[in-house]
């Protein structure tokens, strides 16, 4: 209820506009007290001294030369001397003097505050209690560049920026369709961050939209700096390592998902947009899959799936085989591992845990440190921890190979890093006291768990369970474009959702 009182605070009588510009200026100076960037400029007409107005804006948020040329200069220099009737002055200035694409007339203080903080300029006129809100947004933005997290060899090279409007324009440019919808909302009681729900009318199921809106209504947070804030607040399974909402930095990916009937969620201030519902197989779908030859990309997709299994199970399989199920190893391999482990002081499980954690430390260090220090990390990682540790017989050589392989294959599915890490340690734990049996046990558990997940009412493992052409044509492989039907997801989702109530999240 705190949130509500804040929103309605400025609607009280105390904060209402009057016909006096002095009062109005005072009012805003009070609201933005002690704010150094809050600027008020009073202007008088050269020909008619009666005409007084003031321009209010935030420094840095507006385009200075634009205001000078389109607002201040025309009001100052226009000949108002022969103007007699007070009644039409406001309309005259609005319609004939100010040169701007967008002017809104309002006296709603709340609306005005939202506008000025977004980079609009306010113009008050003596004798009128209404305010002109002029679109003069002109802050500096990062350029549109190729996103560093999702590089492709072929395909569009543009990525989202931190500006919501720019991002929307990137989407609109790709879909010239009147059915493309952008709905704005706000989240964050302090930041009032703008959120945009983007979908194509007729493709996106209404049930999912309704559910999304109802979940967004329940968000109670004071600030939203990245889409992850929203993602965690509206996801179906907040405690799961499996993500049930996707994210991407690329407009082409977002448009692709929107065309499949999904709903995209753009958040101001971050280049990462969300898509929902998100299914498990989408982890393995990369935009380049659709831009390159389908044989090649199908192979790549299979590699990604394989690498997911590798990254999750290789350390635990090694521990299970070396400590429990030695009879599964071919004899020469057994002798090889045995001689490599000779006089290594730690048990295999300790070795595996230590090396995996060291790898994660190196990875984290690699992403955090300034790029010109990156050399140091790779030298320390490769030489000191790999070769020297093996030669000093602190760890055995096979575990270095196992950890190296695990680490590298995990990088193939960079979006799954959370799942990978979580499952890897769970499996390792199971393998360390139950062997292969434990791993099988773990796989069964993970399957039961993931089969029970859903994303906005859509089963998370949709299309994974059965091997039908319909199901694998865009999951395990990427079929040729003439065989792919973009609407296939939509059809499935419609039939799955028919007559079914989407599970709403428990209110906690």
């Amino acid at each position: 209820m705190v949130k509500e009182s804040k929103k309605t605070k400025y609607n009280s009588k105390e904060y209402s506009l009057t016909k006096s510009i002095q009062h109005n200026m005072k009012l805003f100076s009070d609201i933005f007290m002690d704010d150094g960037t809050f600027k008020v400029r009073t202007i008088k007409n050269r020909f008619n001294k009666e005409l007084q107005c003031c321009v209010i804006y935030f420094e840095g948020m507006i385009d200075n030369s634009f205001i000078s040329a389109t607002v201040i200069e025309p009001i100052m220099n226009c000949n108002f001397s022969d103007f007699d009737s007070d009644k039409n002055l406001f309309d005259l200035i609005q319609n004939e003097i100010i040169i701007s694409t967008y002017i809104e007339i309002t006296n709603d203080i709340q609306k005005i505050i939202e506008a000025i903080t977004l980079g609009d300029t306010l113009v008050f006129l003596e004798g009128f209690s209404d305010c002109m809100v002029i679109n003069t947004k002109g802050w500096k933005m990062r350029n549109i560049t190729e996103p560093s997290t999702e590089k492709t060899l072929r395909g569009p090279k543009e990525g989202f920026t931190e500006s919501l409007i720019t991002n929307i324009s990137l989407i609109r440019r790709k879909v010239r369709n009147p059915n493309l919808r952008f709905q704005f909302r706000e989240a964050g009681s302090e930041t009032n961050t703008r959120i945009c729900i983007c979908y194509i009318e007729g493709l996106a199921p209404q049930k999912i939209l309704d559910e999304l809106n109802s979940r967004l209504d329940k968000i109670d947070i004071n600030g939203v700096l990245d889409s992850e804030y929203i993602q965690e607040m509206i996801t179906d399974n907040p405690l799961s390592p499996f993500e049930t909402i996707g994210s991407s930095e690329r407009p082409d990916v977002i448009v692709g998902k929107v065309l499949e009937g999904r709903v995209a969620l753009l958040v101001d201030g971050t280049p990462f947009a969300l898509t929902l519902p998100f299914l498990f197989m989408e982890y393995f779908q990369v935009n380049e899959d659709y831009y390159a030859n389908f044989f090649f990309t199908s192979f790549n997709r299979l590699l990604r799936i394989l690498s997911f299994f590798f990254s999750v199970s290789v350390p635990s399989l090694y521990v299970a085989l070396v400590n429990y199920n030695q009879e599964m190893l071919p004899t020469p391999l057994l002798l090889g591992i045995s001689s490599a482990r000779e006089s290594v002081p730690f048990p295999t499980i300790v070795e595996a845990l230590a090396m995996l954690i060291i790898f994660e430390i190196l990875r984290e260090a690699g992403t955090r440190i300034p790029s010109d220090m990156g050399q140091a990390v790779s030298i320390v990682g490769a030489l000191v921890l790999g070769q020297a540790a093996v030669e000093a017989r602190i760890v055995s050589a096979p575990i270095v190979i196992v950890v190296g392989l695990t680490g590298i294959v995990a990088l193939l599915n960079i979006k799954m890093k959370g799942v990978n890490l979580f499952l890897r340690f769970i499996f390792l734990f199971l393998a360390s006291f139950m062997g292969l049996y434990g791993i099988v046990f773990g796989i069964i558990g993970v399957l039961i768990y993931t089969m029970g997940l859903s994303s906005f009412g859509v089963p998370y493992m949709l299309k994974v369970g059965t091997i039908k052409m319909e199901n694998i044509k865009d999951t395990f492989i990427r079929s040729p474009w003439w065989y792919l039907n973009l609407n296939s997801y939509k059809v499935t989702i419609k039939t799955t959702l028919k007559g079914k109530k989407i599970g709403t999240r428990d209110e906690k």
Binding site: Q326, S339, M434
Partner: protein
């Protein structure tokens, strides 16, 4: 309330999963002594069992240059000996990777099933190892005869058995194969023989020939030459060589590409006749004779000669085993039991006698596919 039940059921599942597992034992790979082979003897002096095991000697370092060590102990039972070996070996013995079991002639004559009972019963050992009978006095001396210093005799012998199919002079019998046969009423089979070949510079173990088993007892041994024809009769020939004109000055060698043997039974007037049909595809591998063989007729002559030689040799081998050892290693009894149960009912009571007097006919067909890279004798014309 709901959560409590959930947590409870999860805990129950985890605990039961943990308790019901058969393989709970965490053991480091480098704390195991990998057993490569086992030799079972009867000690001459005290008449107890004597077991020798070959253990892989793992050296630390990146080069897997492994040798082997031996442990020999005597005891009343095999399990007694194996357990007591812990007092000799510093590490736990690990049998899952053992490749061969060699049993001495003496023990095999007494009873094979007694000698292998522990090995088949134990949970950790595996029955996919090769079973061999030592032709020498003891099994131990075979296992301990090393060709060179850094080698593991058992692993080496296992490879020999695997490659044995290229010469086909000894059967290849896994322990589980043998166990299957032991369960049958007329348990007769053949096991490979191992002996020390002293002809070369060094004494090396060599696998050739057959030990004939009747029941679970050793009844006789035949050499590699007869073994080959026995394998022909039992359809176990994969590849191998045949030599025509063995005694003459112009021998011809053939490489067997493919062989199919069928056993058929003919009943007339109460008498049973076993017909052994062999169909062999060979190629000429060595040709020391002079006459050319490139025309169809000439080839047919050689084929005919080879077929006759095969017929005769197989027939003689079968007859010899029928008369001398009375062990139905050809499985005639088993097939009769399977396909002609009524006939078998009459015969089974006195199968030993019936087998001895079983009439056998061998019909061989040979097809020469090619003569390797040269299509005629290298000399002449």
């Amino acid at each position: 309330m709901k959560n409590k039940r959930k947590v409870k059921s999860i805990i129950i599942v985890i605990i039961s999963a943990y308790l019901f597992t058969g393989c709970w034992n965490y053991r480091e790979i480098n704390n195991l002594s990998v057993v490569a082979g086992i030799a079972i003897d009867r000690n001459e002096l005290n008449g107890k069992y004597e077991v020798t095991i070959e253990i892989v000697n793992i050296k630390k370092g990146s080069d897997v240059d492994t040798g082997s060590e031996y442990i020999t102990l005597c005891g009343d039972s095999l399990f007694d000996i194996i357990r007591n070996m812990i007092s000799v070996s510093s590490r736990r013995l690990y049998f899952a990777h053992a490749k061969i079991v060699i049993i001495s002639k003496e023990l095999a004559t007494e009873s094979l099933s007694k000698a292998i009972d522990w090995y088949t019963r134990d949970a950790e050992t595996r029955t996919d190892i090769y079973l061999l009978i030592s032709k020498e006095k003891t099994a131990k001396e075979v296992l301990m005869s090393k060709r060179k210093e850094n080698m593991i005799v058992s692993f080496d012998l296992a490879k020999v058995i695997q490659n044995e199919k290229n010469v086909s002079t000894a059967p290849k019998v896994d322990l589980w194969d043998f166990l299957d046969i032991l369960k049958q009423k007329e348990a007769n089979t053949a096991l490979p023989l191992i002996f020390i070949d002293k002809s070369g510079e060094k004494e090396v173990p060599r696998i050739e020939g057959m030990a004939l088993i009747k029941g679970d007892k050793l009844v006789g041994m035949v050499d590699g030459n007869i073994a080959k024809y026995v394998l022909f009769a039992t359809d176990e020939i994969k590849t191998g060589i045949l030599v025509l004109g063995r005694k003459s000055s112009e021998p011809i060698s053939f490489e067997i590409f493919k062989n199919r043997t069928k056993q058929k039974y003919k009943f007339d007037e109460g008498k049973i006749k076993v017909q052994v049909f062999t169909d062999t595809i060979v190629s000429i591998a060595e040709y020391q004779a002079q006459q050319p063989f490139n025309t169809c007729e000439e080839k047919e002559v050689i084929e005919k000669q080879l077929a006759n030689m095969l017929e005769e040799s197989i027939y003689n081998s079968i007859k010899m085993i029928q008369k001398e050892y009375k062990s139905d290693i050809f499985g005639f009894g088993i097939t009769l039991h399977k396909y002609y149960p009524k006939v078998w009912k009459d015969l089974s009571d006195n199968w030993e006698y019936n087998f001895e007097n079983l009439e056998v006919e061998v019909i061989s067909k040979v097809q020469i596919k090619n003569s390797a890279t040269t299509s005629k004798p290298i000399m002449g014309e």
